[in-house]
Amino acid sequence: MEKLRERAAALLADGTVSLVIGFEEGTKRPRPFFCRTSDQASKLIFDSRCFHNLAVYVTKKELVGKEPFAVTAPIATLRSILQLYVENQLKEEQMLILTADPAGELFELRSFDEISAYVANFELKRGEREEEILHKIEGMTREERWQFWLNEMSQCFKCYACRSACPLCYCTKCVVEVNRPQWIHPWPAPLANMEWHINRAMHMVGRCTACGACGEACPVGIPIDLITRKMMEDLAPEFGYIPGLPARQGNALSSWRLDDREQFIR
């Protein structure tokens, strides 16, 4: 952590970057922090409690501007950054990644390929919470699953914290805000909530890298991250992807291959 602070301070001091997006101590646990001067770098922290997906900020023009910036990125953030590269949302030359492995070794990554190679060392595994809930859901009948999600989703009040916390929900106008035609009823009600969540899931297929930010953000505790996570887990092997490791050639559902094993696509 000390090495990371020193490096961040140096980068800010010599003007290599004008901003380091990182973590600082929060009121309960670490929180996102925008470090703009080398003096502030001593506030930076980077440890296993840093769970926020900082990739959500890197597409916000009003925050990052045009100058080069650095991000202190945990693995989940790196996965999202890769996906953002795939979707052409980032410029390699504007962003520098600082990260540290569990042993505290500092890494500086500057391109899709470097990040990709680094992330490949880490297998995407279910955590305890994910395992527990997904295991329960996987054991349900179709009807039980529908009831489970209907009950969960009827708690949703459409605060869109899930959307706001997701690095891949970068659209300035979301499908829920389109009103000609109105695809989704914008108020919270059981059925209208299902419309929102089904749409959200559909927009995430093949894109979600299972960072869990949406589920973590939901104030009413809906484990919505598990829907897109499960989709990714199911879909990746079918399409020959490594779960959580976005590939240059594009998303499962928006790319096309000559050697596809399905006939209809050719």
């Binding site: 926020h52 869109y160 914008p186």
Partner: protein, 336 residues
């Protein structure tokens, strides 16, 4: 106002009497790992040992989505069906915290400062609020800094302060409270002289409201907004859990020739909230929206509606995905 004592057994009988009166009762219930207001039928369903419900009770008087009126188009004509106040059942809100009860005043001020809001008032006039004095608090609570307190009676019809014997000090505050108590009159016996404050959490004030307000009066162009809001994601979580946020949207629910006009929660933190049709957006940046949130609550509402738009419940701080802690932010403004 009258102070009485109610025993544990009396409390149970009174609750059953309320249930028997066919009033709808909402109380905090533990489910899915959270505590929130749900309809209950027995006292045993009511949650214990929690700091705060995730959401406030405002939905009882300002539903998340409510039908303003409905209509039907027949042969080029339109028939309207107005909202019917009598469709709103008599409701008891049970075990409301004082900071939630206090939220009813700012909420009603917004809905009624100019013209009367028939829908909000229909709910309000059929609602009786039984609050519980708070015996526990956490580091997000700051009611005592915003004119409230763990035993504050503002907004409550009847307040209970739990005693070690399972009974409670019952303060009957309003006529509605009295009517509710009269459902089981013999459960309420003479005050034993218990010291209420001894059974409430001690929560020293964290900032001076006057100081904050005088700082905010000059703070519109301050750099503090950008500084504080950089990590803010612009969601609606803080506004939706807040007992006093009243912003809403009006939407249309159409089914063929029939339709309903619906009012649903909205929030000044959303980027599209103020977007003009022309594409011009007066609050384009999150810092401007964060400023609106703080100034609306701590400056505009006190000036315009004569009531502070925050009761110190701390819900927004607990709900925020990125730890935008309102107490920390307000304290830092006070200290500037």
């Amino acid at each position: 106002m009258e102070t009485k004592y109610i025993s544990k057994e009396g409390l149970g009988r009174w609750f059953d009497a309320i249930v028997a009166s066919e009033k709808r009762i909402y109380a905090p219930v533990k489910s899915r790992g959270q505590v929130d207001f749900k309809q209950v039928k027995s006292l045993s369903e009511v949650a214990d040992e929690y700091i705060q419900t995730t959401q406030s009770i405002k939905a009882a008087v300002f539903p998340k989505a409510e039908i303003l009126f409905s209509y039907e188009k027949v042969n080029g004509k339109v028939n309207l069906t107005d909202f019917d106040p009598n469709s709103v059942p008599e409701t008891v809100l049970w075990k409301v915290h004082p900071c939630d009860a206090a939220g009813f005043r700012p909420l009603s001020a917004i809905f009624n400062w100019d013209s009367a809001d028939k829908l909000h008032n229909a709910h309000l006039s059929r609602t009786t609020i039984v609050s519980y004095g708070c015996a526990i608090a956490d580091e997000s609570c700051f009611c005592t800094s915003v004119n409230g307190g763990p035993g504050n009676l503002n907004g409550s019809d009847l307040q209970l302060t739990m005693l070690p014997d399972g009974g409670a000090i019952a303060e009957i505050i309003t006529a509605r409270g009295e009517t509710l108590a009269s459902l089981c009159p013999d459960a309420f016996v003479a005050d034993r002289g218990d010291d209420k404050s001894a059974h409430l959490v001690d929560l020293p004030a964290r900032f001076s409201l006057e100081e904050v307000q005088s700082k905010l009066n000059k703070a519109f162009d301050s750099s503090v907004w950008k500084q504080q809001s950089e990590r803010c994601l612009g969601c609606g979580a803080c506004a939706f859990v807040c007992p006093t946020c009243a912003c809403f949207d009006i939407q249309e629910d159409v089914h063929g020739s029939k339709g309903r006009r619906i009012r649903c929660w909205d929030a000044c933190g959303f980027s599209l909230f103020t977007l003009h049709t022309s594409g011009h957006n007066p609050r384009e940046h999150q810092s401007q929206r964060w400023r609106q949130r703080i100034l609306h609550k701590f400056s505009y509402m006190p000036e315009r509606l004569n009531v502070v738009g925050c009761t110190g419940c701390g819900r927004c701080s607990r709900a925020c995905p990125v730890d935008m802690n309102i107490l920390e932010h307000i304290t830092s403004i006070a200290e500037q």
